[in-house]
Subunit: 304 residues, 2 copies
């Protein structure tokens, strides 16, 4: 079963398209993981603290969301020890029955892109744990995407190509030209995905479109009718669940169309005044429930 | 001393702008490092073989080139063990007196970009080994570049921003619009670099411009008069030293203007017919000498 169908199944099972971003900002970790940020502690010990936090967060999400999206940068900050932590987190998420979208945003010339694809999506020969999908950066063009696409065909895994990112300054280059670059990239992404359509109708080649640009989301959805959209920007970055509606156009399968990501809003809910004096895991559970309810409401999904 | 000046000194000392790319493609390694590619061997042992090869290659380059450019993807292929190898290679190159340009092509939204910047360029507090400069991808825009730029100000390190990459398909998005995106990015790079100019006149914010596009190189050099250019594409990708001339416009400092990269042409010279039956290190040494001589000739530099 290819990534598109596995994702569709998993989303249908939990009944909503929320994906939990696992973004362990060292500065935001609860006090019991403070040694993760201490420069006096050996790096391997810091990485163990990072792993422990992420695995607890994943335990909270298990059975409640379809997928988690660990952000590689916060692991890479601890070098090789951080990469060991990343691998443990991917393995733990899989053991908990979750799909894993590695937020690595890689991209390079073709021969190098092949190495990144194998590193994160595995290969037909190599049975080691790998992500179910990764994010990739399209700046280098179509030939640089081919190794990622070929790896998806060989392994049944998926991609989310950056189209329109959620940061405030993303329009500078992504909005360049007429039509704007993001639309040109979107049409390419739609084309690349045609060969990787699943039985659910969607492709294993998805696109990242910030939920912070609702007006563009509609145009980009039209340019990519069969592309699962990964929508970051909910919560901390200012987007609401209602801003994501255009990504989910199928009235008979209202959860189908992509994934809406929340990271800090859940993992670091304990830092918000309304959760004062609540243990971080309780705050994360409450925030997760509230976000799922908000999403169900905005997309017209039946409450579980 | 900031990165621009350290680079300028190092290039002046060796008398040419060649940078050695350390791209350990597993499939191309000499027979004595074959265990690096064997799926039957523990990954840590494979990573040790990778480290051994790269360190031997660096020994050949020491004192002959200003900088080496390890390509992260080939290390990342071996996960956490590969990252341990990458760190050893950076450390060994520094011990040999070489500048290190980490070819990581990272880029993400601002809060995440900060983690990548600290991971690869270090921070003011964190004294651990880091690259002297890294390559970054500009697709996400100016706000996503700021954390990298701020880290360069704080640490005296540098960047090479992807502008026009060397792969055949790079025009698809980089050539979009009028003026083409690459020119718009180039003007931004020039602006970002103004605050980071060194005493040599060049900035610590460089740009990647494929040597495979000589006609564009001239226009891009004009848009970025103070930007050191990192020119990949020599050898395996088809560019010649003469194609790079426009990057070096200063007649009184003819080596000044950037770095010309060669990777496979040197490390894997032993695979070419003219080096048949020569040990790989001898072949690499001969190829390195020949490439330096070709560059000196093309740029009108005095032979050492």
């Amino acid at each position: 079963m290819n990534f598109a169908d596995r994702l569709d199944d998993a989303v249908a099972r939990v009944g909503h398209p929320l994906v939990l971003g696992v973004d362990p900002h060292l500065d935001l970790l609860p006090e019991e993981y403070a040694r993760a940020r201490s420069l006096e502690v050996p790096r391997a010990v810091r990485a163990d603290a990072l792993t422990a936090f992420c695995c607890e967060l994943i335990n909270i999400a298990a059975g409640r969301v379809a997928a988690v999206k660990p952000q590689a940068a916060f692991f890479e900050l601890l070098g090789a020890d951080g990469w060991r932590a990343f691998e443990s987190v991917v393995e733990h998420a899989h053991a908990q029955g979750l799909l894993v979208i590695g937020d690595v945003k890689r991209g390079d010339v073709p021969s190098t892109a092949r190495a990144y694809a194998t590193a994160h999506l595995g290969s037909a020969e190599d049975g080691r744990p790998a992500c179910d999908a990764i994010t990739v950066n399209p700046y280098l063009g179509e030939d640089a995407m081919q190794p990622f696409l070929e790896t998806c065909v060989a392994t049944g895994r998926g991609l989310f190509v950056l189209v329109r990112t959620s940061n405030p300054g993303s329009g500078l280059f992504q909005g360049h030209g007429d039509p704007p670059l993001a639309e040109v990239v979107a049409r390419s992404v739609a084309g690349w995905g045609e060969k990787l359509r699943g039985e659910c109708g969607l492709s294993s080649v998805g696109a990242v479109v910030g939920a912070t640009h609702p007006e563009e989301l509609q145009r980009l959805r039209a340019a990519m009718p069969h592309t699962p959209l990964l929508l970051p920007g909910l919560g901390a970055q200012g987007a609401t669940a209602a801003d994501c509606r255009a990504a989910f156009p199928d009235p008979t399968h209202p959860w189908r169309g992509g994934l809406i990501n929340s990271s800090r809003g859940i993992a670091f809910a304990w830092r918000r005044p309304e959760h004062a004096n609540r243990p971080w895991k309780d705050a994360a559970r409450k925030a997760l429930d509230a976000t799922i309810a908000e999403l169900r409401d905005a997309l017209g999904l039946a409450p579980c």
